[in-house]
């Protein structure tokens, strides 16, 4: 196959995860190509969010290997995985509620610009950090809300900010966990456009329940059922796949 020769941004090799005696992820092998938009779908409880938590180092693997740009991430702390160029958004909004929108974004760019634990320079004078923050604010269309504390934003705004925090640092691999969950049709459409424009030149992996969003955005789709991937393919062939229809799409 032609795709075998493509570069992989993220590789999961026979990944297993159990909580106590309960297996949640039961041998997932998956290649995410560089610069593709990959959706992971599956019924509730299939282990989609757990898979994200394994990839980001939030939970340790029970067995198997995960490679980010060819490098093993086993036992690498979350912040180190982030520094290697992987960023994620959360299903439940996960922002800095007492800080302003502007500060939320600025905090997300500091490390990637190399400021680390600097205590001898004023953030207001870091030109590149402030410029990148402005640029990200424009991308997520929140420039007008810059001074608002993130905790009092509307739900859709918080979701947009969540995506802003995720992309601000310029990470190459981006994981979005249900980016349009709880949004109205109109809000979801805006979010899709935002995701489409910001994922150019990046690798995107997303978990999503809204099939409209999935088939609209994804280059390839993987179907996760009870901790196993039963199919990975382009959207049209996933739609026609008998096993997928009976396991998942048929129930809708």
């Amino acid at each position: 196959m032609k795709s075998d020769s493509r570069q992989c941004a993220l590789q999961l090799q026979d990944v297993h995860k159990s909580f106590g005696k309960t297996p949640i992820i039961r041998g997932v092998t998956l290649d995410i190509y560089k610069d593709e938009r990959h959706a992971i779908i599956g019924p509730n409880g299939a282990g989609k969010s757990t898979l994200f938590n394994l990839v980001t180092g939030r939970f340790p693997l029970t067995s198997g290997t995960i490679l980010l740009n060819g490098r093993c991430t086993t036992d690498v702390p979350t912040y180190e995985i982030n520094r290697r160029g992987l960023s994620r958004s959360f299903q439940v909004t996960n922002i800095f509620p007492r800080m302003s929108v502007y500060e939320n974004i600025r905090c997300s760019v500091l490390w990637s610009l190399g400021y680390r634990y600097t205590f001898w320079r004023s953030v207001d004078k870091l030109r590149d950090a402030n410029e990148l923050t402005e640029k990200t604010l424009e991308e997520i269309k929140m420039t007008a809300r810059r001074h608002t504390p993130a905790g009092v934003l509307t739900y859709a705004e918080q979701r947009a900010l969540e995506i802003g925090i995720t992309i601000a640092s310029g990470a190459e691999v981006i994981l979005l966990d249900e980016p349009t969950a709880g949004m109205s049709r109109h809000e979801a459409n805006n979010a899709v456009e935002l995701i489409r424009s910001m994922s150019k030149g990046r690798t995107l992996v997303m978990v999503e329940h809204d099939m409209g969003v999935v088939f609209n955005l994804a280059d390839r789709i993987s179907v996760l059922v009870y901790g196993e991937i039963i199919a990975t393919d382009v959207p049209n062939r996933i739609r026609e796949n008998k096993a997928v229809q009976s396991a998942y799409l048929g129930t809708h």
Binding site: Y79, N82, S100, E103, C107, F119, W120
Partner: protein, 440 residues
Amino acid sequence: MSDTSPVVVSSRTLAPAQTRWLQKYKFWIAAAAVLIVLPHIPGLNSSFMHSLLTQMGISAVFALSFSLLLGQTGLLSFGHAVYFGLGGYIAIHFMRLVNGGLPIPIVLVPVAGALGGLVSGVLFGSVTTKKAGTVFSLISLGVGELVYAASFMLSGFFGGEEGITASRTRALPLFGLNFGPQLQVYYVIVFWAFVSAALMYAFTRTPVGRMCNAVRDNPERTEFVGYDPQRVRFVAFAVAGLFAGLAGGLHALNYEIVAADSVSAIRSGGVLIMAYIGGAGYFIGPIIGAITITWLQISLSDYTAAWLLYLGLFFIVILIFAPGGLAGLILMHAPIVRTRALSRVLIAYLAAALPAVVAIIGAAILIEMSYRLSTNPELGTKMRLFGINVDAATPWPWITGVVLLAAGFYVFRLTWPIVAAAWERATEEANAKSMAGAAQ
């Protein structure tokens, strides 16, 4: 204060660089000017007042350092006095060296305290900041007890019960100053307090200072933007230790003695109360808290033996009714100060304050008499309250107390809707005004 509020540019822009500089630092310049003239204002120009102001300065630095943890990083420490005290001990030993002939100006003693605080902060912080939340608080409590116990065991360094003493005057005079008079000490300490406050504020505006707020708000998300929250907590802890130690050094310089009480849980609790009463969510809060509590300690304890009880009640009232502390209460009024409605709100406050004072007097009569009877019965039942001779053995003072308390509280309760209505109108006016301003 966590916001990058842009300096409001007046309609006459193109201000020269100096004016912009003045505009940006106007609060700091004003504060420096006030601190310089303060000890010469009539009523404040006695040695007693100078000593009180000096203590406020020391407490303010200590409370600000505590708030770097609580307000900025979300770490509630029950043992912050450890760093104050250890800094103080290092400073007092340094003073003894100076007394012994070390040719270093005595005004640099606080630097020794700061180094002591930094080293102990790094040492203990590397353990305590491995955890956040409740576990951090409990470990800090444990470390506090540990150091307090050690202060009685290692008497060579801590001086046991009596503590360590030194003299600030037995040193090389600097510019002809010998630092004997309290006024000279005031200026030295206020200088250091001002520099410390400015540095701590600057710290909150650095990359790692901003990440402290991020860790406070959401440690998990911090990891997903590349930062190790444990490391951020550690940096904050070390910096807080440094300034707590500097406050300890100021204490050593002012009192010329450091004893076990300076590392005690009482002092740790004291700074916690200052930060909460002042408002840890605002940079200025701990300063307000330190000034208020120091003043209450000195003035209330002159009037009544039960002053700790009043302080406790005050603390509870603030926690329940003003979670933002005194700074929160004050800053709440900022939007309406610019409107005319402020006077109406103040009149409503006055209407509420009168019955509240009556109720407080009633409560104080009851508390004072109970306190006398239960703790000092040998002093008899005759006492003087609010300038009136009363006898706690007779029923009338008790009846008066109960009546004042009940009636005062009842009327106070009736004034609440008045205050609420005035407040609502003022807020509406302020909103209308800001809308009109935005439309222009």
